[in-house]
């Protein structure tokens, strides 16, 4: 079966005054239809850039991005336009991602206008349907974004992403700006929509407990590379990469009795302008050896569906 999205050998670089940032530096990843793939990592690891590249919001230097087997990384804008409907995005900040001067109805209608779908009457009907799908009253369509709370705005962002009946939604930190009690509402909404509409998600977040809750498979990124990829249960219970292990143990568990021995990483993320030689994680890795400085570890398959980029993992 062809995966819905397949990325391979992807490299995305940003030239700066101080040198080139290799934001995504050789990534392979697949998302199948109706599957949720979680993408975790700390700020600057390249997870958002990777997500944006699937919508061609940033362009890769090299590598391939296939949508249902069709190569899109080299397509022109006009070639790409009909395919854009299949992949949509939800952004982190529900305040910055909605145009404050447009009514919610207009915001939700815009994708339909751009893609010349339906008559005005049909579009209005579709807008009402979208609003009820995300739990908003359709008569609120005339109101503007500032009249809604953060959680409601994120629902509007979700409705907009659903407007074109996409196959995949790239969710970039969709609940990070929300309060705890509202966060659960939005996570449940995304889960319900997925079940009902057969959506696939690429779910990007720095919050491992959220990613663990929503994903089928999880990819862990560090400085532009995927360092581990596994199904959610395996990743959480048998993480093999020392970075994944540290990341999991750093999550504060909401249970005072879990006296987990914490594995606290020393130091900071190295600058992506100047990543360490060999394995990029070696400067913070508790088990790094001389081999790690010399040789860049490739992503190896250690068990079916479980890939790790570490010389010492087995």
């Amino acid at each position: 079966m062809t995966p819905l999205v397949s990325v391979s050998g992807l490299e995305i670089h940003f030239p700066t005054r101080h040198g080139t940032v290799r934001a995504v530096d050789g990534v392979d990843l697949e998302v199948n239809a109706a599957e949720t793939v979680g993408l975790v990592g700390e700020s600057g690891c390249g997870k958002t850039t990777l997500g944006k590249s699937i919508l061609r919001l940033v362009n890769p230097i090299t590598g391939s991005i296939r949508l249902n087997g069709i190569e899109i990384s080299t397509m022109t804008r006009s070639e790409l336009r009909p395919l854009r409907r299949q992949v949509q995005m939800i952004f982190q900040d529900p305040y910055a991602s909605l145009n404050p001067r447009h009514s919610v109805g207009r915001i939700l209608e815009e994708p339909l206008i751009v893609h010349r779908i339906g008559t005005p009457a049909q579009r209005r009907e579709r807008v009402a349907w979208l609003m009820s799908k995300v739990g908003l009253r359709p008569d609120a369509a005339r109101r503007h974004p500032h009249e809604f709370s953060g959680g409601q705005r994120q629902r509007i962002g979700i409705a907009r992403a659903l407007a074109l009946e996409p196959k995949l939604i790239v969710c970039d930190e969709p609940v990070s700006a929300l309060d705890v009690s509202v966060r659960a509402q939005v996570i449940n909404l995304l889960a319900d929509l997925r079940k009902e509409l057969g959506l696939a998600y690429l779910f990007i977040s720095h919050d491992l407990s959220v990613v663990e809750h929503v994903s089928d498979r999880i990819a862990v990124m560090y400085l532009g590379r995927i360092v581990e990829l596994a199904d959610r249960a395996t990743l959480w219970t048998k993480p093999l990469h020392p970075y994944t292990q540290a990341l999991i143990s750093a999550v504060p568990v909401p249970d005072p009795k879990s006296a987990t021995r914490r594995l606290i990483l020393e130091g900071d993320l190295p600058s992506p302008l100047n990543p360490p030689s060999g394995c990029r994680f070696r400067t913070r890795c508790p088990i790094a050896t001389e081999l790690c400085a010399r040789e860049d570890p490739a992503l190896r398959t250690l068990a079916p569906g479980h890939q790790v980029a570490c010389h010492h993992a087995s």
Binding site: S43, S181, A184, S209, S215, A250, P252, V253, D268
Partner: protein
């Protein structure tokens, strides 16, 4: 029993705006002992930061004003002090750390100059001695190579290093009380772990009382000893951390704990939601402010507001239903 280090009594901080009076903090009482960490938790707008700013008397007036209560600290009511007396306490006996380390540091002065300023503000020391103390403090917060770092400007430091520098500044005069307002919210998870570990360790070593303000129940569980849960300007439940997580009494606390994703729960399971949203501070419901969202509200909750009353040992809850159940 000796006096607690800090005792806040019926604190009320209101904001007088064009749209009416926002009762951001409306009758909050709690205490902190030396050497213990108290967590104030709640969602945005619940009044946890306003509580902290009130203790430091940093509420902008207008529009805000502390309209009632007392804040007893080392035997004195902070609300009765003059501005000069208060300034002598801030940064000396009470240290503070804010959420965003970049905005709490001045970009045009070196880290060393800023820490030295905090020292010389309160101690009669030479510039040289103050700078030497700055190096000592950077060492205390485990910044590698402190002699070099002391001469650097904030932009040269990573987020985690900046927050360490801010902690160093807060500790400059060995305060008895440290107030940390969301100290790790702007940091990555592996860096957050480092900074929280550091604060805990310094608390034990220096015997400080710490108030940590956070929305993250994981941080509460792992680091605090006692916890006060705030909702819409009031404390709704107060308990030892172990007791609160084992058996939350207030329906809001129960809802919060049930709504966080936990490891090993099947992803097909839905998270428990708290329906609706936090009420606007200008337009509070009569009675219990949580009643409109509460699955267990009874008639009485809509008519009158429950007070925070003791239930059992070192535990308080502001809920008619919870108290009824405990009494039964």
């Amino acid at each position: 029993m000796s006096m607690p280090l800090l005792k806040v009594n019926d604190l009320r901080t209101h904001f007088f705006t064009r749209d009416g009076v926002a009762k951001a903090v409306d009758g909050v009482s709690f205490s902190v002992e030396a050497g213990e960490m108290l967590a104030l938790v709640g969602e945005s707008g619940c009044g946890k930061s306003v509580t902290a700013f009130s203790i430091l008397r940093l509420i902008a007036d207008p529009p805000g004003r502390i309209v009632g209560g007392e804040i007893m600290f080392e035997g004195r009511d902070l609300l009765k002090l003059s501005d000069t007396e208060m300034r002598a306490i801030r940064g000396d006996r009470i240290g503070m750390i804010f959420q965003d380390p970049m905005t709490s540091l001045n970009p045009v002065f070196t880290i060393g100059e800023q820490i030295a300023e905090a020292v010389s503000m309160h101690r009669p020391v030479s510039r040289k001695a103050a700078l030497a103390r700055a190096v000592e403090l950077l060492e205390l917060v485990k910044i590698p190579d402190p002699h070099r770092r002391v001469q650097e400007y904030p932009h040269r430091l990573s987020g985690g290093m900046r927050q360490r520098a801010v902690i160093a500044m807060a500790l400059a005069c060995e305060p008895a009380l440290l107030i940390a307002d969301e100290p790790t919210t702007a940091l990555d998870v592996t860096i957050q772990a480092q900074v929280l570990e550091l604060i805990s360790e310094l608390k034990d070593r220096l015997g400080m009382g710490v108030i940590i303000i956070t929305h993250d129940l994981g941080i509460v569980a792992q680091h605090a000893k006692r916890v006060a849960v705030m909702y819409a300007g009031r404390i709704v439940e107060q308990a030892d951390v172990g007791a609160l997580f084992q058996r939350p009494l207030h329906p809001y606390t129960q809802g919060l704990l049930a709504s966080i994703p936990r490891p090993h729960v099947k992803s097909t399971d839905r998270l428990t939601e708290i329906p609706g949203m936090v009420p606007s501070l200008n337009d509070m419901p009569a009675g219990c402010s949580f009643a409109p969202r509460c699955p267990r509200a009874i008639e009485r909750c809509k008519a009158s507001a429950p007070t925070l009353d003791p239930v059992g040992n070192a535990r308080k809850v502001a809920c008619f239903v919870a108290r009824q159940e405990l009494a039964a």
